[in-house]
C-alpha cells in the first residue's frame, strides 16, 4: 500500500512538472523567444552563480581542512611514514596552488565575460609564447615532483638493512598470521602443498612433510575406496567431480613425495625456531623490520594506515616491504589523547564477503618491554607449539606411505 502511494505521488509529480513546463513554454511562445535564445538575465544569473559556486567550494575545502587538521591523517608512526607525509604535504601545496589558480580563473572568467550587449568576443586563435609558457612551467614543476618522488620511492623500496628483523605476514580469507623468524632471524622455507590443520603456514620440515603424506594418502585411499565400491550408487556428475578431485590429490601427492626426496634435513632448524603469532602483531620501536608477504587463497593487501606502508600479498609469490616504527602505541595514545587507540594491519585488497573484517591489531612496544615479550615468545616456537614430539618421530616410518590404488 505504501509503495502504491509513493508510486502515485511520483506520477502526479511528473504530471505537475509537465504542466508547469507547458505553461512556461506557452509564455515563452508569447514572448517569442525560443529555448536556444538565452536572455541576458539568465546569462548573468548563471555567470554569477558560477562565481558563487566557486567561493562555496573554496570555503567548503577550507572548512574541511580546518575541521580535520590539514589532511586529517594524524601523525605518521614510522620513519617511512614521516618521509611519505613530508612529500605528501609538499605535493599537496603544489597541487592546491594549481587547483586554486586554475579554478579561480575558470569560474571568474565564466562570470566576468558573460555576453554583454554591444561587446564582441576577442578573436584570439593562438599565441605560441603563452602556450610554450604553460607547457614548460608544468614540466619544470613535474620534474621536481618526479625527482623527489623517485628519491623517496627508491629509499622506501630498497633492500632492508642486514640487521632487520624478519617477519612473515601470511594472509588468508579473513585473517592475518605473523611468523617471526626466531633466534636465527631466518624464515624457514614453505610449500603450499604441505598445508594441513596443524601446519597452516605450510612450513617444510621432515615432520610436516611426513604428516602431509600421511594425510594425503589417507584421503586418496578413502576416495578410491568410495569410487571403487560397487555398493554405493553415485550419479554421474558426482562421479566426475570425485574423479577430478582424486586426480588432483594424486598429482599433489606425487609432488609432495618429490619434496620429501629433495628435502635436506638441515633446513629443519630454520623452521623449528620460527614463532607463529595470531591476533596481535608486536613490534619494537626503532627496530628495522623486513616483512615478507604471502597469501594462501586470493589477493590481499597488508595495509598499515598509521605507518603509511602497504604491499599486496599475492598467491604464488612472495612480496616484501620494510618498516621502522618510530612511535610506541603508548606514545600515540598520549598524543591522540585516546587510551583505546591501537595501530592496525588491515586488508586493503578486495578478498571476499568479510574483507572489511580482516585485520590484526598492532602493538608497538619500547625496547625493554618488547625484549621481555620476545623472551617469553622464544619458548613458543613452531616446534614446541605444533610438533612437540618432533625429535622422536624425526625418522619417518615407511609404513606411513600408502601407495594409492588406481
Amino acid at each position: 500500500m505504501e509503495k502504491l502511494i509513493i508510486l502515485i505521488v511520483i506520477i502526479l509529480g511528473a504530471i505537475a512538472l509537465a504542466q508547469l513546463i507547458r505553461v512556461y513554454e506557452l509564455s515563452s511562445k508569447l514572448r517569442k523567444s525560443g529555448e536556444h535564445e538565452i536572455n541576458n538575465k539568465d546569462n548573468h544569473i548563471n555567470g554569477l552563480l558560477m562565481f558563487v559556486f566557486m567561493i562555496l567550494t573554496f570555503v567548503g575545502f577550507f572548512y574541511l581542512m580546518l575541521k580535520y587538521g590539514w589532511t586529517g591523517r594524524g601523525t605518521a608512526a614510522s620513519t617511512q611514514g614521516v618521509e611519505t607525509d613530508w612529500l605528501l604535504n609538499l605535493n599537496f601545496i603544489i597541487i592546491l596552488i594549481a587547483y586554486f589558480i586554475t579554478n579561480f580563473l575558470l569560474f571568474y572568467f565564466s562570470y566576468k565575460y558573460v555576453r554583454k550587449p554591444g561587446v564582441k568576443a576577442y578573436f584570439y586563435p593562438h599565441n605560441n609564447k603563452l602556450e610554450m609558457i604553460w607547457t614548460i612551467v608544468p614540466a619544470i614543476v613535474l620534474a621536481v615532483i618526479i625527482i623527489l618522488g623517485l628519491k623517496s620511492w627508491t629509499k622506501i623500496t630498497s633492500p632492508a638493512e642486514a640487521d632487520a628483523i624478519r617477519i612473515e605476514l601470511f594472509a588468508k580469507q579473513y585473517d592475518w598470521t605473523a611468523r617471526y623468524a626466531g633466534l636465527d632471524n631466518e624464515l624457514g622455507k614453505y610449500d603450499y602443498k604441505l598445508t594441513t590443520d596443524n601446519n597452516e603456514l605450510a612450513l617444510i620440515t621432515s615432520n610436516t612433510i611426513d604428516s602431509s603424506i600421511a594425510i594425503m594418502s589417507k584421503e586418496i585411499l578413502s576416495l578410491t575406496k568410495l569410487l571403487n565400491n560397487r555398493d554405493t550408487i553415485l550419479n554421474d556428475s558426482v562421479i566426475v567431480v570425485r574423479k577430478n578431485t582424486l586426480s588432483v590429490k594424486e598429482r599433489l601427492f606425487r609432488l609432495v613425495t618429490q619434496i620429501k626426496e629433495n628435502h635436506d634435513k638441515k633446513a629443519d632448524a630454520a623452521v623449528w625456531d620460527d614463532i607463529i603469532q595470531k591476533d596481535t602483531l608486536y613490534l619494537c620501536k626503532g627496530e628495522n623490520y623486513e616483512f615478507n608477504l604471502r597469501a594462501r587463497d586470493v589477493l590481499h593487501s597488508a595495509y598499515f594506515p598509521h605507518f603509511r606502508i602497504q604491499m599486496n600479498a599475492v598467491p604464488g609469490m612472495t612480496t616484501r616491504m620494510k618498516l621502522t616504527p618510530n612511535m610506541t602505541t603508548e606514545q600515540m595514545r598520549a598524543e591522540k589523547n585516546n587510551p583505546n587507540f591501537n595501530f592496525v594491519l588491515m586488508c586493503n585488497k578486495i578478498c571476499g564477503g568479510a574483507h572489511y573484517k580482516m585485520k590484526m591489531i598492532v602493538v608497538v612496544k619500547d625496547k625493554a618491554s618488547y625484549k621481555k615479550w620476545m623472551a617469553q615468545k622464544n619458548k613458543e616456537t613452531f616446534k614446541m607449539k605444533y610438533f612437540p614430539a618432533a625429535a622422536e618421530i624425526a625418522t619417518p616410518k615407511d609404513s606411513l606411505i600408502i601407495k594409492p590404488l588406481i
Partner: protein
C-alpha cells in the same frame, strides 16, 4: 543578423540534388537501422538506461555506508529478502553492487554511451559524409552493445549474485567460485558480456577510424576537422589497440575458470581445498587488464574533452585557443596513455624499478592535460559567453578535470601511492576526473546536440536546475571523499565501523563524512530525474528546433532539422575554412560556417 546568415548557408544546398524520400519500414527505421543518427540515438537510450541502473546501485550501497546495519525500506524494496534480509544489505551483495556499478559506469555508460553516441551522430555530420563507412557494421556494433548490456543486467538477477570481485575482477578472487559466491555464474556472465561488448566496441571503432580517414567531404582536411572529431578519432584508435588486450585477459581468465589452466593461479589453498595449479601469476592479469584499463580512462575522457572544446568555443563566440596545440595534446595523451598502466600496480609486487619508469611516464601526461586546461581558460577569456546548459556543463567539466587531475599527480607518485592506494582518495580522484568529467561532457553533448538528434529543443530552465544540482551534488560527494581517503579508509569496505575498534577519532570522522556524502549522492541522483523528465518530455513535446540553434560553424547544422538518410538532401557541402571562425575581425556576423568560401582578401585564421 546572425540568424539570417545561417538561414542562407543552411539552405544553400537544398535544391542541388534529387529528393527521394522513401517510406522506411518501422523495423528498419527504428530497430535494425543502419542510419548513423538512429544508431547514435540507440546507443544513447541504452546508455542512459544503464546509467540510471548503475546510479541506483550506487545509492543502494551508499545507504549501507552511511548507516551501516540499519534497516532500510529502500534496500529491501530493490533487493528483497535474499540480498537485504530485514532491509540490511548482505556483505556479498555489497561487493556485487560495487562491481556492477563500476562496470556499467565505465564500460556501458561512459564508453558505449559517450563515444558510441556522439561518434555515431557527429562523425558523419561534422565531416560532411552521408553515413558511416559501413552502415551494417555500425548496426552490428550497437546490437553487440545491446546484447552485452542485457547479459550484464541479467547477471544481477541470478541466485548466486553478480560478479563480486570489483570492476577490475582481479583473479584469483574472480577465478574461484569457492572464494566468493559471485565468482560462479555471475562472473561467467560478466565475462561473456564483456567479450560481446569488446567485439561491438572494436567493430564500432574500426568504422569510426575508416570514416574519419576516408569520408571527409571536399575541403575537410585533417586540420580543418572540429576537435570533437579529433577526439573521437584518437579514442577509436585507443579502443582498437587496447580492447583486444582486455579480451585476451578475459579469455585467459575464462580458461583458468573452465579449462583448468594456470595463467593466473599458483599455489592456492582456498578454504580447505588445495588446488594443483602452479606457475601462473595474478600480476600477469593486472598487466593485461591495465593495458586496457588505463587507455580506457582516456577512451572515456577524450570524447568528453572533444565535445566540450566544441561547446566552449561556440558559446564563447571565440575560436578555441590553440587549435593545433589541442590536437597535439590529444595525440600526446593518446600515446602516453599506453605507457602508464603500471601506475595502477605500484604495490602489487611489481619490481620497484619498473614502478619508477611508470611514475615518470604518468607524470608526463600532466603536461598535455595542463595545456588543455589553460587553453580552455584562455578560450573563455574575453569571450562573449552564452551560458546555455551545455556550456555550463562544459565549464563544469573543465573544473572537475582540474580538481580530479591534480590529485592524480599525488597518486602517480609511487612513494605517495603506497599510503593512498586503494583508499577512498583514489575513489574520489577517479570519480571526479573520469566519472564526473565524462558525465558532464555527456550532458553537455546531449543538451547541445539534442536539437540535431531529435529536431526539438530541451527546456533550458530545467537544464539549469539540473546542472546546478549535479555540480553541487558531484562536489558534495567527492570533495569530502578525499578526506575520508586521506584519513586512511580503504575502499570496497562494506562497513567502516571496524575503525571503532582501534581508532575512534578517525572512525568518527569517516562516519560523519560518509553521511554527508550519501546525502549529497541522493540529492544528485534525484536531480537526474529532472534530466530524464526533460529528455523524454522534449523528445515528444519540446518546441521545434531551428536550423542552427547555437549559431555554430560546423557542418551538422547545415543539414535539415528533419532527419533524412544521407544527411544532406542535395550535394555534400564543401569546406573552405577551419571550424572556429567565431567573431572573426572583418566579418559582420559572429560566426562563419565552414562551408562558406573565404571572402576576397580574407585569410584563413
Amino acid at each position: 543578423m546572425a540568424s539570417t546568415a545561417h538561414e542562407e548557408h543552411g539552405h544553400g544546398h537544398d535544391h542541388g540534388g534529387d529528393h527521394h524520400h522513401h517510406e522506411e519500414h518501422f523495423v528498419s527505421k527504428y530497430i535494425f537501422s543502419q542510419d548513423h543518427k538512429m544508431i547514435g540515438k540507440q546507443f544513447l537510450m541504452t546508455a542512459v538506461f544503464m546509467g540510471v541502473v548503475a546510479m541506483l546501485l550506487s545509492i543502494l550501497f551508499r545507504i549501507q555506508l552511511a548507516w551501516p546495519g540499519e534497516s532500510s525500506d529502500f534496500l529491501s524494496f530493490f533487493l528483497g529478502e535474499q540480498w537485504a534480509p530485514n532491509g540490511v544489505l548482505k556483505e556479498d551483495m555489497y561487493l556485487g553492487l560495487v562491481t556492477i556499478h563500476g562496470t556499467i559506469m565505465v564500460f556501458f555508460l561512459l564508453t558505449g554511451g559517450l563515444s558510441g553516441t556522439f561518434s555515431n551522430i557527429l562523425i558523419p555530420l561534422q565531416l560532411g559524409a552521408r553515413d558511416m563507412a559501413s552502415g551494417f557494421l555500425n548496426m552490428l556494433s550497437f546490437w553487440f552493445f545491446f546484447a552485452s548490456s542485457l547479459i550484464m543486467l541479467g547477471s544481477l538477477f541470478i541466485e548466486t549474485g553478480p560478479a563480486m570481485a570489483g570492476w577490475t575482477i582481479y583473479p584469483p578472487l574472480s577465478a574461484l567460485p569457492q572464494a566468493v559466491s559471485g565468482s560462479g555464474l555471475g562472473m561467467t556472465l560478466w565475462l561473456i558480456s564483456m567479450v560481446i561488448f569488446i567485439a561491438g566496441s572494436l567493430i564500432g571503432s574500426l568504422n569510426y577510424i575508416v570514416t574519419v580517414l576516408n569520408l571527409r567531404t571536399k575541403g575537410m582536411t585533417m586540420t580543418r576537422m572540429p576537435l570533437t572529431i579529433w577526439a573521437f578519432f584518437v579514442t577509436a584508435i585507443l579502443g582498437v589497440l587496447s580492447f583486444p588486450v582486455l579480451l585476451s585477459a578475459a579469455l585467459l581468465l575464462t580458461m583458468d575458470r573452465l579449462a583448468g589452466t594456470s595463467f593466473y593461479l599458483s599455489d592456492i589453498v582456498v578454504g580447505s581445498e588445495m588446488l594443483a595449479n602452479h606457475g601462473g601469476s595474478p600480476i600477469l592479469y593486472q598487466h593485461l587488464f591495465w593495458f586496457l584499463g588505463h587507455p580506457e580512462v582516456y577512451i572515456v575522457l577524450l570524447p568528453a574533452l572533444g565535445l566540450s572544446s566544441e561547446i566552449i568555443a561556440t558559446n564563447s563566440r571565440k575560436p578555441i585557443f590553440g587549435y593545433k596545440a589541442m590536437i597535439g595534446s590529444i595525440l600526446a595523451i593518446g600515446f602516453l596513455s599506453f605507457i602508464v598502466w603500471g601506475h595502477h600496480m605500484f604495490i602489487t609486487g611489481m619490481n620497484p624499478f619498473l614502478g619508477s619508469v611508470f611514475v615518470f611516464t604518468t607524470l608526463l601526461i600532466a603536461i598535455p592535460s595542463a595545456v588543455k586546461v589553460f587553453n580552455y581558460i584562455t578560450t573563455l577569456w574575453r569571450g562573449s559567453l552564452v551560458l546555455t546548459p551545455a556550456m555550463l556543463f562544459a565549464i563544469g567539466l573543465v573544473s572537475t578535470f582540474i580538481s580530479g587531475g591534480v590529485t592524480g599527480i599525488i597518486l602517480a607518485d609511487s612513494a605517495l601511492d603506497i599510503a593512498l592506494h586503494d583508499t577512498y582518495f583514489v575513489v574520489a580522484h577517479f570519480h571526479i576526473v573520469m566519472g564526473m568529467s565524462a558525465v558532464f561532457g555527456m550532458f553537455a553533448g546531449v543538451y547541445h546536440w539534442f536539437p540535431k538528434m531529435f529536431g526539438r529543443m530541451m527546456n533550458t530552465r530545467l537544464g539549469y536546475v539540473h546542472f546546478w544540482i549535479t555540480i553541487i551534488g558531484a562536489y558534495g560527494v567527492f570533495f569530502p571523499m578525499h578526506f575520508v581517503g586521506l584519513a586512511g579508509a580503504p575502499r570496497r569496505y562494506y562497513d567502516s565501523t571496524v575503525y571503532n575498534e582501534f581508532d575512534q577519532d578517525t572512525f568518527a570522522m569517516i562516519m560523519d563524512l560518509n553521511v554527508i556524502i550519501t546525502i549529497f549522492a541522493i540529492f544528485a541522483a534525484l536531480g537526474q530525474l529532472l534530466f530524464l523528465f526533460n529528455f523524454f518530455y522534449s523528445i515528444y513535446r519540446g518546441p521545434k528546433a531551428p536550423q542552427n540553434p547555437w549559431d555554430s560553424t560546423t557542418l551538422e547544422w547545415t543539414t535539415p532539422v528533419e532527419h533524412l538518410h544521407g544527411n544532406w538532401p542535395g550535394a555534400l557541402p564543401e569546406v573552405h575554412r577551419w571550424p572556429y571562425d567565431y567573431s572573426k575581425p572583418g566579418s559582420d556576423v559572429d560566426f562563419i560556417p565552414q562551408n562558406v568560401p573565404l571572402a576576397k582578401g580574407e585569410e584563413e585564421h
